[in-house]
């Protein structure tokens, strides 16, 4: 039963990740990433990392991907047009690089597993134990993360402010149009 669910969610994960990079419509790319995150969260549950799995769902599927979706819908993006021959060559090169990378990774993982005989341990990543470690051993990194998020917020606000300042023409036009009305 366990292995059945592993293969099910693994297959969904790989197929959805291929859809992320291959679908032509930007909205489908983002929605496939939602599927990737859901199946990844299911795999975390199979590994008994409950807290991280739920956080992944809440933060990624709940907040980050909605943000992606919001931007993709806001920007009036066109679907990709079929590529020219030169672009196709670049795509082929990308696939070759990816295949070489994957074969190298498989080689490394195989040689790593030769030396290792690790069985699954009995740890369960419930919120109780994770929270205890987070607030004792990893307290400083945890607090620094809040600083990082603050810096990110300030960065976004200053970027958006710059956009409104340099877009003087656009806002001026908008004001003129409003005046004409």
């Amino acid at each position: 039963m366990f292995s059945f669910f592993f293969y099910l969610f693994g297959a969904v994960l790989v197929l959805a990740s291929l859809a992320v990079i291959l679908a032509r419509n930007p909205l489908y790319n983002v929605l496939s990433l939602v599927v990737v995150i859901f199946s990844l969260s299911s795999l975390f549950m199979l590994l008994e990392a409950f807290f991280v799995g739920i956080i992944l769902l809440l933060v990624y599927a709940g907040a980050v991907l909605v943000f992606f979706l919001f931007v993709a819908m806001c920007l009036k993006l066109n679907s990709e047009t079929p590529t020219t021959i030169r672009k196709n060559r670049i795509r082929l090169l990308g696939w070759c690089a990816g295949a070489a990378f994957l074969s190298e990774l498989i080689f490394i993982i195989k040689s790593f597993l030769m030396t290792q005989t690790m069985g699954p341990s009995s740890i369960r990543g419930a919120i109780e134990i994770i929270g205890k470690i987070l607030f004792t051993e990893y307290l400083l990194p945890f607090e620094l993360t809040s600083l990082l998020l603050l810096i990110a917020v300030i960065g976004i606000v200053s970027l958006a402010k710059g956009a409104f300042k340099t877009d003087g023409n656009e806002s001026g036009d908008a004001k003129n149009m409003a005046g004409n009305r």
Binding site: S17, L33, L43, L149, L159
Partner: protein
């Protein structure tokens, strides 16, 4: 029986798909999505190692990776919106000039 190797292979496949996505896609939004795939692949490896080593550190690192990724995505999408305002496109090929 599903061992550590299965999870590592799955993570490797996911990472390679992300690398291919970064190389072949021309839209900046898709490149950012492929970066998310890379982070997801590394998260899977971390949790698998955490389970099979009996150490909670891997799960805590995944927690921090998620937080950093959230900040990165927010900044990246702000830059994409800025790029769309200036160039009215988000194709990476159109970013040819350092100054415009």
């Amino acid at each position: 029986m599903i061992g550590l190797g299965h999870y590592l292979f799955l993570s490797g496949i996911l990472f390679s798909v992300g690398v291919v996505g970064i190389t072949i896609s021309r839209s900046v939004l898709k490149i950012l999505l492929s970066l998310e795939l890379l982070l997801a692949a590394s998260n899977l490896s971390f949790v698998a190692f955490s389970k099979f080593n009996g150490d909670y550190t891997g799960q805590l690192i995944v927690f921090f990776v998620i937080l950093v990724a959230a900040a990165e995505v927010a900044i990246g999408l702000a830059i994409i919106v800025l790029m769309y305002r200036r160039l009215s496109t988000i194709q990476a090929d159109d970013l040819k000039d350092l100054k415009w």
